[in-house]
């Protein structure tokens, strides 16, 4: 059962990013930082990791001449996240 838990989601920040993106369309970097209560460097390294496996996609634009990155979950990311949630639930029920 444990093998169904996604290794990528062992990190609290990565799991948090997926949780926020699962229920929102596009979320910008600063909002994510606020929800997860973390630093710029930490957040961006985790975002890059999730981007690499194509669980999330990024959109870059300029808002009043400042770059702004927004993130969105992909279909693959959504199903990986759902699998992880299912595995978590089953594990909790098994060990009650």
């Amino acid at each position: 059962m444990i093998e169904n838990l996604n290794k990528l989601f062992e990190s609290r920040i990565r799991l948090g990013i997926m949780s926020v993106l699962a229920v929102n369309d596009w979320v910008d970097f600063n909002s994510l930082k606020e929800y997860l209560n973390t630093t710029d460097g930490n957040l961006s390294s985790h975002l890059t990791a999730l981007e690499k496996v194509e669980y999330i996609k990024v959109r870059k634009e300029f808002v009043s001449r400042r770059p702004k990155s927004s993130y969105c979950i992909t279909a693959a990311g959504k199903s990986a996240f759902d699998e992880h949630l299912k595995a978590l639930e089953i594990l909790i029920n098994l060990r009650k």
Binding site: R12, S19, V20, V27, L85
Partner: protein
């Protein structure tokens, strides 16, 4: 024994993980800081406002139903701008006091819980509330312009209810049922035209107070006890 302890710890971790996931989903998609007290107070302001309107109205005219036809066509009503101006001022004061109270109490509550108030969730909720609400406001002013006075109170209830249903997607779910109640009341008021003030007081007064108490009871009571 040792094995069991490890398992329980692990299990606790999983439960914590699920809790954190749920918390983040809620916080990032729903605006949850609106205080129940603001509903209760808004309801009280509405009742006071309705009482003043009734008092003023009966002070100037005969009984409500006697003047029903004149109210719909409205020559008397508009013969004196100061007369209907009172109702506009009265309603404006109720709305202003309610808004100010709501904003102050919500800021206070969010601060106590360490949440930010003006984030993207709050903005999205307010936009979705404002679009039907402003439409309704302009619509009611146009009713006033066309002297269709009897339709104003039911329209206010209808548009307010629809606005709440629209905003409920971005805040606490219970708001949807509160909105539905306002819409139903608005439809009933549209049938019993001429008793607008009574239905207005019911919807904006009594319903707000009941809903405010319900929200306070459901979401705030415990945290209030802890901080006390």
């Amino acid at each position: 024994m040792h094995y069991k302890v490890i398992c329980m710890n692990k299990n606790g971790d999983y439960i914590d993980q699920l809790h954190e996931i749920r918390g983040l989903m809620e916080r990032s998609s729903r605006f949850i800081s609106l205080s129940g007290w603001s509903g209760i107070l808004a309801g009280c302001y509405a009742l006071i406002g309705a009482w003043f309107a009734r008092w003023y109205y009966f002070g100037h005219l005969g009984t409500y139903m006697d003047r029903f036809n004149e109210l719909i066509s409205g020559p008397d009503f508009f013969s004196d701008p100061g007369f209907y101006g009172f109702f506009v001022l009265d309603a404006g004061l109720v709305v202003s006091f309610s808004l100010i109270t709501g904003i102050i109490l919500t800021i206070r509550r969010a601060k106590r819980k360490g949440q930010r108030i003006w984030d993207r969730v709050a903005q999205r909720m307010l936009i979705n509330l404002a679009i039907p609400l402003v439409t309704g406001g302009v619509f009611c002013l146009l009713l006033l312009h066309h002297r269709l006075i009897g339709l104003i109170a039911p329209s206010m209830l209808l548009f307010y209810g629809l606005s709440l249903i629209n905003a409920s997607k971005y805040t606490i779910h219970d708001l949807k049922y509160f909105g539905l109640a306002q819409v139903l009341l608005g439809l009933v008021a549209m049938y019993f035209i001429g008793h607008g003030l009574l239905f207005w007081a019911l919807g904006f007064g009594l319903f707000h107070i009941l809903y405010g108490f319900y929200m306070w009871f459901k979401y705030e009571r415990e945290s209030a006890n802890i901080s006390a």
